[in-house]
Symmetry: C2
Subunit: 340 residues, 2 copies
């Protein structure tokens, strides 16, 4: 039997009710809460075919139905209309983010905002280094033969690293090196920097080369090794809330939230700014998460994408609301980065 419009409507109703109540929903409850214009028996027939097709399931024989991952998928793809944010929410986004003083602050505010809006766990990736360009390189002698390298990106991110040099550099050398470096790499993206910097030592006097190459190596390390990109997390307490309504093991979830690698994998796919990506339940199995859904999107100035952000929650989450929130926050953050 085919899935006609009414059956889709039934699925939507089931998803919505189940998200609301967290209880299996039966045919009678459905006709009561939604004016579907048909009797509960009809609904039962529809439900039977929906179950046959794998969109819903019964936890036990004499209970109502709950949506399966496949059901949620269909719901998200074909049934959920964009739920506009309330004016209060829009105001919250604006007032929350406008007070930020620097990039770190923007990110930390963003992640808390997302957690609060969606009442779930939020994750925001710091603007990725690889997709950034260099705005400035600064060298600061600190003590003895040590030099602090500070790297400023076009997104406002600052990377720092202390390097121990083979010999103490004098100030003029450091000044030369600083000038030369900035001349060479400002405006370049990070992969280009690597090739440009590698032949830098040859441009200096032989006795200075150890220092120069020490700096160059460290700079490259800061670019390449620090690929291990950072993420900010908030709202883990929200997970506990629905963890007590049970059936979700939250220990693996909390572990995942502490594992940069896993988080980056979860966020990773998002490439373009506009569409919000939803990954549901088993679709995250490779990350060790099963009854968890992930709603992500990219962000960045203009049409660029320099990072991702998203929300983790139970498969039974309010998808339209979450998608709207993630989208709106990403847009606003992108705008802020644009203004930079």
């Amino acid at each position: 039997m085919p899935i006609d419009d009414r059956k889709l409507e039934v699925l939507r109703a089931i998803v919505e009710d189940y998200v609301d109540t967290h209880e299996p929903v039966g045919s009678k409850a459905l006709v009561d809460r939604h004016h579907l214009g048909v009797s509960s028996a009809t609904i039962r027939n529809d439900m039977a075919t929906l179950e046959e097709e794998g969109y819903i399931a019964q936890p036990h024989t004499s209970a109502g139905r709950i949506p399966t991952d496949k059901g949620y998928r269909l719901f998200v793809d074909r049934l959920s209309t964009v739920k506009p944010l309330s004016p209060a929410e829009r105001r919250a986004i604006r007032s929350f983010l406008d007070g930020a003083v620097d990039l770190d602050d923007v990110i930390s505010r963003t992640v808390r905002l997302l957690a609060q809006l969606t009442r779930q766990a939020a994750v925001v990736q710091y603007p990725s280094l690889t997709r950034s360009t260099v705005r400035h390189v600064e060298l600061v002698p600190v003590a003895g033969a040590r030099v602090l390298i500070v790297l400023i990106t076009n997104t406002g991110r600052v990377e720092q690293r202390v390097v121990e040099l083979p010999q103490e550099p004098d100030d003029s050398l450091l000044g030369d090196l600083r000038a030369r470096l900035n001349e060479l790499v400002v405006g370049l993206d990070f992969t280009s920097v690597a090739s440009t910097v590698s032949d830098l030592p040859e441009q200096f006097a032989p006795e200075d080369r150890p220092v120069v190459s020490g700096v160059a190596v460290s700079l490259l390390e800061a670019l390449v090794e620090r690929h291990e990109e950072r993420v900010a997390v908030a709202g883990t307490a929200n997970l506990a809330r629905y963890g007590q309504e049970f059936d979700v093991e939250l220990e693996p979830l909390l572990s995942a939230l502490e594992e940069q690698v896993v988080l980056l994998k979860l966020l990773g796919q998002a490439t373009s700014t506009s569409p919000v990506t939803v990954r549901i339940g088993e679709e995250n199995a490779q990350s060790g998460l099963f009854s968890t859904s992930v709603v992500t999107t990219g962000y960045g100035p203009g049409n660029e994408t320099v990072g991702s952000m998203g929300v983790l929650g139970p498969t039974r989450m309010d998808y339209p609301g979450t998608i709207a929130a993630v989208g709106a926050v990403a847009r606003y953050v992108s705008q802020i980065l644009d203004a930079n």
Copy 2:
């Protein structure tokens, strides 16, 4: 009836067994597992007086006893001997921390290490600004009338802030200002910087003063406002583990772990490096935590204390082990900062 030595021994046994099993411990089980040399009836009498004095309690009439907060307190104060770390643990500390490349890395490794060693949630405060001294101030023009202020402390911490100036400063002014600033404030602690910097604008030509005071104000803000000191957290998943063994509400705990303010309050008291502080159960009530204990200590180069670190867990935690771990890690981190 007075609390004599054997009664203390009984209390110790109760605490140890309860920490092990998480089940109320009865008189018979005690004589079986510990060679106390007396009969269960005697133990029962001892238990009765221990209960009278409020050191232990019964969850229900016909069950064994569990330690009260007061009981744990006595245990920690008078009964727990320092449990030396295993060689494997010592090795873990060393190998884990020795790979750190900069201060941020030290902190993030420390917090993960603590979480792993104690199998609980760990918290490490970034070296406090107020107790640090300035090693270097750097000014970097970024775009238009904007300048990035970078502040390097003696602990290796780097603070950054972008300031929007009323007019675009030329390079020589910036150079002068940078030199003057470093001359003035290097080596000062942060409170002294405030008073020193405030009359800086007067030392410059009138037309430059807007720029100078813009920088000065931002610098002060970075020092004072950023009092909101940062903390790193790890091991929240460990909480879930014993949260499922139930009776601890973990939602408030997770909330606390996300609230900088609460965490700082919990860490705050520690002042001196050597002794490890233990706060048990209700002693944390002002922070909204009840059946949670906190083990903290300070750390810092030499005899200075520049920050605190600690572990949060259930009142029924392994105090000797946790205290030893926190102490050892703090000592090692202090050493690393010392070497800087």
